[in-house]
Each structure stands twice: as structure tokens, then as C-alpha cells.
């Protein structure tokens, strides 16, 4: 190694660090929380890893979907309702079916709901109604459909399908390989799509400045519709993960609304600003796991689960306030 290459390399490293500072920070926070959690409980092993990773799956999927849409400059309040729809549809039609048919249904749900949300993206781009308003309205429509498909909690799925997401056919215990894989594969796929493909780059471009993107010759409408389609497909995946986790379907409106709000919290904690065009879906994965992990950590500390809600809220507000303060101080300094 020559001495000339060293400063060059460290400069490149510094650039990578400063660009991905937030993502690295969130992953470090997750690592620290994991280490802390392992010292809090007597035995930390496969069981804990399985339970944390599988319980995070729905939120992580939903947050990745929300992340892509927010990067494209939108926001989707209907993702939770799409989760409900996917969950209800899967639980109703997968019940007592062999694995082959279950997988076909899963595929149909993912493409179908992806297409539904692409339609939402199309409506947003032709109507000129803000994203938040259109998706607010569609959130009612989709949760109505979910109730229509599955009027009351129930239904089921194939045991092998549960194994696919949870690593165990009964949904209890099992190996950590499946849930970790199921978290990693879609996350990495969407990450590569967003950073390395033409479509992904145009999604960042329209979120950053849609007028400049249009003047540069990008098809803004196509990129927006694609972002909503990916978001919808991820919400469908979240619904499938829910049916695999719980073994049933539950179409209650409040579940969807909470899931939507948590997905927004996860993306902001994961470093995607709501103004769009920046951030990375990898940070969102860690943020989603952190939000889910808070509950077992707090109960291991002997804190009333009701207080977990308070601490989660304080954590989100606190992190964002520190972020805001840093920006403020930088502005003052310059």
C-alpha cells in the first residue's frame, strides 16, 4: 500500500460515512439494544432471535414499502389497510389448502395488491389531489374490502407457509434462519432496486425535485406509480407475514391504522425525511426492528407494558428533536 493511496481511501471512507451516517447510527443503536437485551435476560439464544425477527417482519415490510413511497415524494396512509386486505384475503382462502395453492394465493395477493396501489398512484398523479388525502380515502375503501372478505377474525393458512416466515410450523420456537432470511431478502432486493436500477434512481429523482426530474426527461408519473406498486406489494407481504405469524386473519380497522402510523414512525427513525428524495431503506429495516424490540426489552426491565408506549413516543420525538437541534446549530454556525 503506497502512502499516496491512504488519504485518498480515507477520504472516500469519510464520504461514505457522512452520506450514510444516519443508517449506520440506527444499525449501531440496534446492535447496542441487542447486546443490552442479552444482558437483561438470563438466557439469550435462538428463541429470542426468532421471536424478535419474526415479530418485526410485518412492520419491517410495511416500513420498507412506506419508505419507497416517501422517497418518491409521497406518503401512503392506506398501507395499513392494504395489510388488512392481504391478511383477510390470505386467511380466508388459504385455510385448509395444500402448500402449492397457498403459494399461488400468496403470489396473487402480492401482485393484486401491488396493482391496486399502483392504481392509487395513478389517481394521485392525474387528479392533483395530495397523496395524503387520496390514501386517506383509499384506506377506508381497502379496509372495507378487508371486512367484506373476512367479516370476523378467523381463517387460517398451511403450516408450511407459517414455517416459511417463522421457522416453525406451529409458529412457536423454531429456527432463526427463516425469519432472518425472509427479512433480509426483500429488504436487500428493494435496496438494490432503489439504488442500482434506473427505476430506483428516478424514484429518488422525482422525490427530490419532481419539476427538475420532468425537465430532465424522466417519466414522473411512471416512477410514482412504480413506487406505489412496490409499496403495495410490500404491504401485501406484511399481511402475509401477519397471517403466518398469528395463524389467523383479523380485519379490524384500528390494526391497520396503527400499522400505518408505526410505518411512518419507522421510516422517519430510519432516516428517510418526509420531504422525500433522500434516505435509504436499509436504515428503515433496523428502525422497524428497534420499534418492535422495545417491548421485550422494557418487559425484561420490569417496566409496565403501558409505559412502553410512552417510551416509544418519547424516543421518536427525542430522536427527531435532536436531529432538528443539530440542523439548527449547523445553520447558526454557518
Amino acid at each position: 500500500m503506497t502512502s499516496a493511496a491512504l488519504p485518498l481511501r480515507s477520504a472516500a471512507w469519510r464520504r461514505v460515512l457522512s452520506r450514510n451516517g444516519w443508517v449506520l447510527g440506527v444499525w449501531l443503536l440496534l446492535g447496542a439494544l441487542l447486546v443490552w437485551y442479552s444482558t437483561l435476560i438470563p438466557v439469550f439464544g435462538q428463541f429470542q432471535v426468532v421471536s424478535i425477527s419474526k415479530n418485526s417482519l410485518p412492520l419491517v415490510y410495511l416500513a420498507i414499502g412506506q419508505g419507497i413511497i416517501v422517497i418518491a415524494g409521497g406518503i401512503d396512509l392506506s398501507l395499513g389497510a392494504l395489510l388488512l386486505l392481504s391478511n383477510a384475503f390470505a386467511a380466508r382462502f388459504m385455510d385448509d389448502q395444500p402448500l402449492g395453492i397457498v403459494l399461488l394465493i400468496a403470489l396473487a395477493v402480492i401482485t393484486g395488491i401491488g396493482a391496486l396501489n399502483a392504481l392509487t398512484g395513478y389517481v394521485i398523479s392525474i387528479s392533483g389531489v395530495p397523496d395524503i388525502v387520496v390514501t386517506l380515502a383509499t384506506s377506508y375503501i381497502w379496509s372495507g374490502f378487508a371486512l367484506w372478505v373476512l367479516p370476523s377474525p378467523g381463517g387460517g393458512t398451511a403450516p408450511q407457509f407459517r414455517w416459511l416466515f417463522t421457522g416453525s410450523e406451529s409458529g412457536i420456537g423454531g429456527s432463526y434462519i427463516m425469519p432472518v432470511l425472509m427479512m433480509a431478502i426483500p429488504s436487500i432486493a428493494v435496496f438494490i432496486l432503489s439504488r442500482r436500477s434506473r427505476l430506483g434512481l428516478s424514484i429518488y429523482a422525482i422525490g427530490s425535485d419532481s419539476v427538475a426530474a420532468r425537465l430532465a426527461g424522466l417519466d414522473v408519473r411512471r416512477a410514482k406509480i412504480a413506487a406505489y406498486a412496490i409499496g403495495g406489494a410490500m404491504a401485501a407481504l406484511a399481511g402475509l407475514a401477519t397471517v403466518a405469524l398469528t395463524g389467523t386473519g383479523d380485519p379490524r380497522f384500528s390494526i391497520g391504522a396503527n400499522a400505518t402510523l408505526n410505518s411512518v414512525a419507522a421510516i422517519v427513525l430510519g432516516g428517510i425525511p418526509l420531504t422525500g428524495g433522500a434516505g435509504s431503506v436499509l436504515g428503515v429495516v433496523a428502525a422497524g426492528v428497534i420499534l418492535i424490540m422495545l417491548n421485550p426489552i422494557l418487559s425484561a426491565m420490569g417496566i409496565n407494558p403501558n409505559n412502553a408506549q410512552i417510551i416509544q413516543g418519547v424516543l421518536i420525538a427525542g430522536v427527531m428533536m435532536i436531529g432538528g437541534l443539530v440542523v439548527l446549530l449547523r445553520e447558526r454556525a454557518s
Binding site: A137, G144, V314
Partner: protein, 335 residues
């Protein structure tokens, strides 16, 4: 978004019908409130066709009882949306205030209402400080506040707020009682608040600053306005409105629980949006929001009378909200 200007069509092709629709379009985009009033009347008549009893003050009583708290919550959203903000914790503030009011009801209605409003004052100003001073995105700040309040009140119901979940008789009268036979008192409360809000937004410097901040915050700051102070007061006022709405709701149901106001969160935003207030700030007003709240409440009554399942109700509700927002956007854009 600017649309390319269509060249005027040749005189030979211009028909009388086209100019007539153009003129209606012009009138409609000048006075979008007229369209909302039209939609409201249409919905009332439709509901009347389904349930003839509805076309009387007695029949509309339930709609008005629902419209009053919704209209007040939507008023809070309107104020904040004008500045480019939003409050997702408003229904949790309402629920919390109702809880405190119920808990303090044995000490008399005045103390109960006062302490209930304090909840909104505190939570609202905390939101304001987070958004204005620490520059947290309003969506996130109020979402976090909603979680904090839910946790606090869930814990407090087992400790310091243990006891009464029934509200004082006076609050029940305000929330559900009627005068002149069937006109609810809560509508009077809403009316007073509406007059106050309309006056604040149209006639005071504070109201103009709300519009100005939503339109161009940098310009307002450069003009020497302490933007953060205006924002904090806006969130505080919104919190107080949330409290009042929560206490009215508690009076209507007579007892409180932690789900009391939750269902009003999305409608409160929807009412303001249907009424023409832009979610990006600077455009809108409370007149439209009042109509939006009435439209949504009548719609709700209609769906109840139709006696269809919850599923169909949600689909119809969502579709109509979308159609109204879409129609409004295309009408005002063509101006």
C-alpha cells in the same frame, strides 16, 4: 401545477352549450363553497328519501350531535393545516381531556371542564414547542405525542385517574341535551367556536400570519415575524379545541373510555380537506371545513339508515371522500 393553456377554439365550433358550461365552471371555481352546499343539500335529500323522518330537526339531531365535535376537531386541523402542519394527536388529546373531566366530575362541572382543557393546553403547547423550536416534522411530533398520551392515560387510569368514568350532569346537558325541543346544546358550543375561529382567521393579525406562514415561511421570517411563537400558539389553540371536543363527546356518551375519540381522527382531516383547506398550507378557511364536517356527518347518518354492513359503509365513505376531494381539486385548478 400549471396546465398548458388551451388555445380558444374557433368561433365556428363554439356552441352555446360550451359557453354555458364555461360560465358555470367559472362561477363554481370562484365560489367553491356553493358546490359544497349543493353536495350537502343533495346528501340531506338523499338521506331523506331513504328515511323520510330525517327531514326534520328531530331527525337530524343525531347528525348534529356528531357534527359538533367533529367540526371542532376539524377546526383544529384547519388552523394547523393553514400553517402547513397537522395534528395526529388531536383525538388522543380529546380522549385524555374527557377522561380528566370525567374523573374530576365529582368536584363539580366547572373544575372538571377547566382541568380537562388544561390537558389540551399542555399537550398542544408541547406539540408546538417540538414543531416550532425543535423543527420536528408535525406528522411525527404529533404521532409521537399521540403514543405518549395513550401510554400515559392507560397507566393513569389504574393510578391517579382511578375512579369516576361518568361525567357530571352539566357536561351531559352540554354534550347531549337539547333546547327548543330538539336542537342540541353542543351545536351552540360549536357555533360560538365557529364564530370565534372565523373572526380569528379573517380579522386578526394572528389569523393572517397563519396563512402567511403556510404560504411562505421564509418570507414571513424575513419580514420580522417570530414564526415559532405563532406556531406554538396555533398548536396550543388546536389542543384546546381538541379538549372541548372531547368533553362534548364525553357528555354525549355519558361515560368515557380510551377509545372515545379515536374514530374521529381521519374524518377530522378529511373534513378540512373536503372543505378546500390545502394540506400544504396557505389556502383554505373554516367555512369550508364546517360544510365538510356536516357533509361527513350526514353521510354517516345516511349509511346508518341504509342498514348495510360496516364493510360497505367504509367503502362508500372512502369513495365519496375521494370523489369530493378530486372534484374540488379539478374545479379549483381550472380557475
Amino acid at each position: 401545477m400549471s396546465q398548458p393553456v388551451t388555445p380558444p377554439s374557433g368561433g365556428a365550433f363554439e356552441t352555446k352549450g360550451a359557453t354555458l358550461t364555461d360560465r358555470t365552471r367559472a362561477i363554481v371555481s370562484e365560489y367553491p363553497t356553493l358546490v359544497l352546499i349543493g353536495v350537502l343539500i343533495l346528501l340531506i335529500l338523499l338521506t331523506g328519501a331513504i328515511e323520510p323522518e330525517y327531514l326534520s330537526i328531530r331527525g337530524m339531531r343525531n347528525t348534529l350531535l356528531q357534527a359538533a365535535p367533529l367540526g371542532i376537531l376539524a377546526g383544529a386541523q384547519t388552523i394547523l393545516m393553514l400553517t402547513g402542519g397537522i395534528d395526529l394527536s388531536i383525538t388522543m388529546i380529546a380522549t385524555g381531556s374527557a377522561y380528566v373531566a370525567a374523573n374530576q366530575s365529582p368536584n363539580g362541572a366547572a373544575i372538571a371542564i377547566l382541568l380537562g382543557v388544561v390537558v389540551g393546553l399542555l399537550a398542544g403547547s408541547a406539540n408546538g414547542v417540538g414543531v416550532a423550536v425543535f423543527r420536528v416534522n408535525p406528522l411525527i411530533m404529533t404521532l409521537a405525542m399521540s403514543g405518549i398520551l395513550l401510554g400515559l392515560f392507560t397507566a393513569w387510569t389504574q393510578t391517579i385517574l382511578q375512579g369516576s368514568t361518568q361525567v357530571a350532569p352539566f357536561i351531559k346537558v352540554i354534550g347531549a341535551g337539547s333546547f327548543f325541543g330538539n336542537l342540541p346544546y353542543s351545536v351552540i358550543v360549536w357555533g360560538l367556536i365557529a364564530v370565534a375561529l372565523l373572526w380569528l382567521l379573517r380579522r386578526t393579525g394572528w389569523g393572517r400570519l397563519l396563512y402567511a406562514i403556510g404560504d411562505n415561511e421564509v418570507a414571513v421570517r424575513l419580514a420580522g415575524v417570530r414564526v415559532w411563537q405563532v406556531r406554538i400558539t396555533a398548536y396550543t389553540v388546536a389542543g384546546i379545541l381538541g379538549s372541548i371536543s372531547g368533553i362534548l363527546l364525553a357528555g354525549r356518551t355519558g361515560a368515557v373510555d380510551l377509545q372515545l375519540a379515536n374514530i374521529f381522527l381521519l374524518p377530522s382531516v378529511a373534513a378540512a380537506v373536503i372543505g378546500g383547506t390545502s394540506i400544504f398550507g396557505g389556502v383554505g378557511g373554516y367555512t369550508g371545513t364546517i360544510l365538510g364536517a356536516l357533509i361527513l356527518s350526514v353521510l354517516n347518518s345516511m349509511l346508518t339508515f341504509l342498514n348495510v354492513g360496516q364493510d360497505i359503509q367504509q367503502v362508500v365513505y372512502g369513495s365519496i371522500v375521494l370523489a369530493l376531494a378530486w372534484g374540488y381539486a379539478s374545479l379549483t385548478r381550472s380557475a
